[in-house]
């Protein structure tokens, strides 16, 4: 094994050697630089291999022939090896990326780059405080030098600002070191750690100065204006090093100091770290410059890792796993993003829309933001899970809450940015893409996936990258070159095959969900045959969502559940974003969903109480006072997906603006994930009380209000798909209500809604989508009279609305009948009043839907329309049949579940004698109803045919009209603002209070952030003042505590 000191020697030697080269020999100089960096990588990688694979012991490297404390010693261990590899690899890739710049500037710039990488490696390797100082200074000098690589003239002032602060930092550091030396008699880090009890007290000013100086290099809030300026103005390749490598090295330095100071100083690290994390993410919100935004994010992530460093007392042997996962995910992603930013000409965030011409780069961007947001299957996800588990296990709830809040903010602006990329106008300048600039980005992507695999392996849970559904979904990434219909066939076949292989494993309840997901999904996918071309990005996203759904219903432990939840969230986000005008809606969807996911994470973490494995079934064993809180967190989390009122504002836009075949997927299938979660939750936890309030009772109210307000909002909607989306809010409200009833029939009713809603909402969305495709609008009042042109779509809608409204003889009635029977056994009567009110309101929007689109006056521009495309009609017809079948024999699906539910509620099941279904209160015979209605209807129809056989079809305007002859369909079609009187009477109930609340909240955050970031006024002196004030304030707070 090559001694680690050669990492430093190689860089130094090469830098010296460059000085001897003639200025003209730039290519040689560049080759030497690369060679040195490759060598450094090679050494680090060699060590990493021996530590990780061969489990070698850490090695001390002595210098000057003495052992410490008489000479400086370096140490190479697992952490050091990984970090030096990270540093030298980012150095190498950045050097490659900088090829043009370095060749233009000559050997000196290459030498500075080498010194920078060397200094950072030195910081990582050294075990001597003063040596640490020296490497610090080297790093600052090299940083100041490399800032000048940028073409941006403003980098000059940024570099100077940095120098000012670096000077102040070095003063504190030196004083701290010398007094620590005075106190312990040694400069050696391990020596100090052993020698001094004084430094460990938490009151030692010497250690404080040393520590705060190192922390200052981590750009703590608010003493970080200088760093932001560097991030904004420096060359992106340097920013990549500055963010990924410097951050890692300085964090490790902070870790070393914490080793000296011991546990008494942990809270300080945590405090500074978490404040930085939250504040930087908050201040990033109004940011419009891409590199500065990344700077804020970088600072935030460093803060997070610093906070984790301060938690090592509870992290135990998972410390490296957590801190490493977060750090590596951040470093790789941030380096990758900075490298990407070098390919973009414009600096505003929407300029990144240029990436659209390069799908590969979009994929890279997705990988990077997924890593930053801690989404599966990347290391940050596993780290976040472990961190949450251990924090909650030790009762550090406030910290956990702050971390999750900050992470949500970060995900918010990252995904907003992604929305810009896909949806904003592409700028004139294309992406400049040369191989040496592309290679680092690709390398970062590859590293991200590799680490994802590694962390999955180390996680102690199932490695997500080895689960069949996820692999299947990811394999579509490789199949993107195929035409859409082949991919569609593969997707359908894959899902059906998975169902066939696994269907024996589900209990009756899960089987219902499995059928909806794995059989129902393919039915909707039939509509996707309509799309031609390659349909880039659709299949990976859709299959990711279905993979998440499939994993969700199959998993038994909380980790798997949460991972699946995040997968389906991300997949559906990409799906929803595909809609033409989906940008803002997809954003609010992902923010709400991630917010909900974080609540679920917190809930599981709280419930687990630190246990590594936690089965969902164990939720039932929880006791007061923890149980209700867990219940609440999980329930709210699940209700972000069911779009319960208050958390619903994302849904109308997300479902309404989605593509024709996506709307039924996200509405008919995805919403059920939330219900499934609630099922699981209530099955294991049952009723919970918080401060004497029955939480299921609260759920009843939420369900009832969702039903009422969802329905009310739907009737005032002019857009057909949005109307259906609002109606989903109402329908989900019914289902939540049913679940919250906590009795046998309530659950059966919820399940009935699960099935029904899947069928009719998918059908209606397809129908509305097909019509919108033909007419080119979704505004219902622009349509009218389409019944003769699109009879099949009309039939689907007709059957759909009869089913939704619950009118017999279709299956919606079954849901209503079970509902009435269910509430008879419940004591909660007031929420039922609300639900009673909600019921008939459904008629309003349903009638409006069918009337304004298919009935009334046909518009001139629509006279030549054809029926919706075959592939969109086909699944609708399948749904019509399904609906009729389910209406006549609901027992097909419900009977087994009814029996299954007996284990939870032995009382109150249904009797299935013959074709009659009866409860303790009433009875219902779907077959008899169907026959009776058919016979009555048929006879009367026949009678009318007989007496009215000569009826003549008349033209459109042949109507009795007072005094004039109508000739314009626009003025004759009564459609717009159809329920005007209703708005007059009850419009006050649909004032967008909730929307205003959330908008107000986000505006508040933005305004607060926009005001606060003016702190960074750009003046180097102010930054120096910030730093000194930071030190003073932290000291007083710290000693005051």
């Amino acid at each position: 094994m090559v001694s680690a000191i050669y990492i430093l020697i190689a860089a130094l030697g090469a830098a010296f050697f460059l000085g001897f080269l003639k200025d003209g020999m730039r290519a040689t100089a560049f080759a030497v630089t690369l060679a040195a960096l490759v060598f450094m990588n090679f050494v680090s990688a060699g060590w990493l291999w021996s530590f990780a694979v061969d489990a070698a012991a850490p090695v001390e490297i002595l210098t000057a022939g003495f052992s410490p404390p008489f000479a400086i010693n370096l140490r190479m261990g697992l952490t050091e090896a990984s970090l030096t590899l990270l540093v030298s690899l980012s150095g190498l890739l950045s050097a490659l990326y900088l090829k043009d710049v370095l060749l233009a500037l000559g050997r000196r710039s290459m030498a500075v780059l080498l010194i920078a990488v060397m200094a950072l490696c030195g910081i990582i390797l050294t075990r001597d405080t003063f040596n640490l100082f020296v490497f610090f200074e080297l790093a600052s000098i090299a940083t100041a030098g490399l800032v000048l690589l940028s073409e941006d003239e403003r980098a000059l002032s940024a570099g100077f600002k940095y120098m000012i602060v670096a000077q102040a930092i070095s003063v504190f550091l030196l004083i701290g070191i010398i007094f620590s030396y005075h106190a312990t008699g040694t400069l050696n880090i391990d020596g100090m750690a052993d020698a001094s009890t004084e430094l460990k007290t938490g009151a030692s000013i010497a250690f404080f100065l040393m520590f705060i100086a190192v922390v200052a290099e981590l750009k703590p809030f608010p003493a970080n204006g200088w760093a932001l300026d560097i991030y904004e103005s420096a060359h992106p390749a340097f920013s990549a090093i500055f963010s990924a490598a410097s951050g890692a090295a300085f964090l490790y330095a902070a870790d070393k100091l914490l080793h000296i100071g011991g546990a008494a100083w942990f809270p300080l690290a945590t405090g500074i770290g978490i404040i930085t994390f939250v504040a930087a993410n908050l201040l990033a919100l109004p940011q419009s410059n891409d590199r500065r935004l990344l700077g804020y994010s970088s600072i935030a992530q460093t803060g997070l890792v610093l906070a984790v460093l301060g938690q090592q007392d509870i992290l135990g042997d998972r410390y490296l796993f957590v801190a490493g996962g977060l750090l590596l995910a951040h470093s790789i992603a941030k380096a990758g993003l900075y490298w990407l930013s070098g390919l973009i000409a414009g600096r505003a965030l929407p300029d990144w829309a240029a990436l659209r011409s390069r799908p590969l780069l979009i994929f890279a961007f997705i990988v990077f933001i997924a890593m930053l947001s801690g989404l599966p299957p990347f290391p940050g996800f596993y780290a976040k899970w472990e961190l949450a588990r251990l924090l909650a296990g030790d009762g550090r709830i406030a910290l956990l809450a702050l971390i999750l809040f900050g992470a949500l903010l970060e995900a918010g602006y990252l995904f907003r940015w992604f929305g810009y990329i896909l949806k904003r106008e592409q700028p004139a300048q294309p992406v400049v893409c040369t191989p040496h600039k592309l290679a680092p980005v690709i390398a970062a992507v590859a590293a991200g996936w590799a680490l994802g695999y590694l962390w999955g392996d180390l996680s102690g849970h199932a490695n997500l990258l080895l689960t069949v559904p996820l692999l299947f979904a990811l394999s579509f990434l490789l199949l993107e070159w195929l035409p859409a219909w082949i991919k569609n066939t593969l997707a359908i076949a894959g899902m059906l095959a998975f169902f066939v292989l696994t269907y024996a494993e589900y209990d009756p309840l899960r089987l219902i969900f499995a059928v909806i997901i794995l059989i129902g999904g393919p039915v909707i996918f039939l509509a996707s045959y309509h799309e031609h071309g390659r349909r880039l990005g659709f299949y990976p996203a859709a299959m990711l969502m279905f993979a998440g759904l499939a994993l969700l219903i199959r998993t038994g432990d909380s980790f798997g559940f949460f991972a699946a939840w995040e997968l389906l969230t991300v997949g559906s986000y990409f799906l929803i974003l595909r809609g033409k005008h989906s940008e803002p809606h997809a954003l609010s969807y992902i923010v709400f969903s991630l917010g909900g996911a974080f609540l679920i994470l917190a809930g599981f973490a709280l419930a687990a109480q630190g246990a590594a494995q936690y089965d969902l079934a164990s939720l039932g064993l929880l006791t007061q006072p923890l149980a209700p809180w867990v219940f609440m967190l999980l329930a709210i989390g699940f209700m972000t997906k069911t779009a319960a009122i208050g958390l619903h504002i994302w849904l109308p836009g997300a479902h309404g603006e989605a593509e024709t075949d996506v709307s039924p997927m996200v509405s008919g299938i995805l919403l059920k994930a939330g219900l499934f979660g609630l099922f699981v939750l209530l099955m294991s936890m049952g009723k919970q009380q918080l401060y004497g309030i029955e939480l299921t009772h609260v759920l009843l109210w939420i369900g009832a209000l969702s039903a009422l307000l969802g329905n009310l909002m739907a009737i005032f909607e002019e857009d057909a798909k949005r109307l259906l989306a609002y109606s989903s809010i109402g329908q989900m409200g019914y289902a939540v209500f049913g679940l919250a009833l906590m009795n046998h029939l309530g659950w059966l009713m919820a399940l009935m809604f699960v099935i029904n809603h899947y069928i009719y909402k998918s059908m209606l969305f397809l129908s509305a989508g097909g019509v919108a495709k033909r007419t080119g609008t979704r505004d219902m009042y622009r349509m009218g009279g389409l019944i003769t042109l699109m009879p099949l779509s009309f039939i689907a809608t007709l059957i759909g609305i009869i089913a939704v409204s619950g009118v017999p003889p279709l299956s919606g009635f079954g849901g209503r009948w079970i509902f009435y029977n269910a509430i008879l056994t419940s004591d909660a009567r007031l929420p039922m009043v609300v639900l009673f009110f909600a019921g008939p309101i459904a008629f309003l929007y349903l009638f409006r839907l069918i009337h304004t689109v298919f009935l009334g006056q046909l518009k001139d521009e629509h006279r030549k329309l054809k029926e919706a495309p075959f592939w969109i009609i086909l699944p609708q017809m399948i749904f019509v049949v399904l609906l009729l079948v389910f209406a006549v024999v609901p027992g097909l699906a419900l009977r087994r579940v009814d029996i299954y539910l007996n284990q939870f509620f032995p009382e109150g099941g249904l009797n299935w004698a013959g074709t009659t279904i009866s409860s303790n209160y009433g009875y219902w015979n779907p077959v008899a109803i169907m026959i009776a209605v058919a016979v009555i209807f048929g006879s009367l129809f026949a009678w009318l045919l007989f007496v009215n056989r000569k009826a003549q079809k008349v033209k459109q305007f042949n109507i009795v009209f007072a005094g004039e002859r109508p000739y314009r369909p626009e003025t004759t079609h009564f459609a717009w603002n159809f329920f005007a009187p209703y708005r007059k009477a009850l419009g006050f109930m649909v004032q967008p209070f909730v929307t205003r609340f959330w908008e107000g909240l986000t505006n508040l955050l933005h305004v607060a952030a926009d005001l606060s970031r003016r702190l960074y006024n750009g003046n180097g002196q102010s930054y120096a003042f910030h730093f000194i004030a930071f030190v003073v304030v932290v000291h007083f707070l710290w000693t005051g505590v």
Binding site: E137, S140, F160, S170, V171, F179, H182
Partner: protein, 118 residues
């Protein structure tokens, strides 16, 4: 005596910081930091000083055997040497920056270099 040196050192540091924070001229700021650096060096020296001992140089008067009892702590001295070297390097770099900045905007006022902010 030691305390006077140490107090002077701290005073210099404070003067340096005060100067750096109140002078908007780049060159004056650099000078102020040099003063602070000097103060730091003074503090380091004063920490390592032991009354009644000689400089940590081994020669005929101070043998290696007797060094432990006769010389002051050599480590801070070594540190100061390094610190001075580094300080010089940083000062030089800052001066170079100041020159470049002046060339760009024909001013040395730090408050004029605020294009990067928020």
């Amino acid at each position: 005596m030691i305390y006077i040196a140490m107090a002077t050192g701290f005073l210099l540091i404070l003067i340096g910081f005060y100067g750096a924070l109140t002078n908007r001229n780049l060159l004056r700021m650099i000078v102020a930091f040099s003063i602070a650096d000097t103060g730091v060096n003074l503090v380091i020296i004063s920490v390592g000083y032991l009354p009644g001992r000689t400089a940590p140089i081994l020669d005929t008067t101070v043998t290696a055997a007797a060094a432990a009892t006769r010389i002051i702590d050599p480590v801070p001295q070594a540190l100061v040497l390094t610190a001075i070297v580094i300080g010089v390097g940083i000062t030089a770099l800052m001066l170079a920056y100041a020159l470049k900045l002046y060339e760009k905007k024909r001013t040395l006022d730090i408050a004029k270099f605020t294009e990067l902010k928020w």
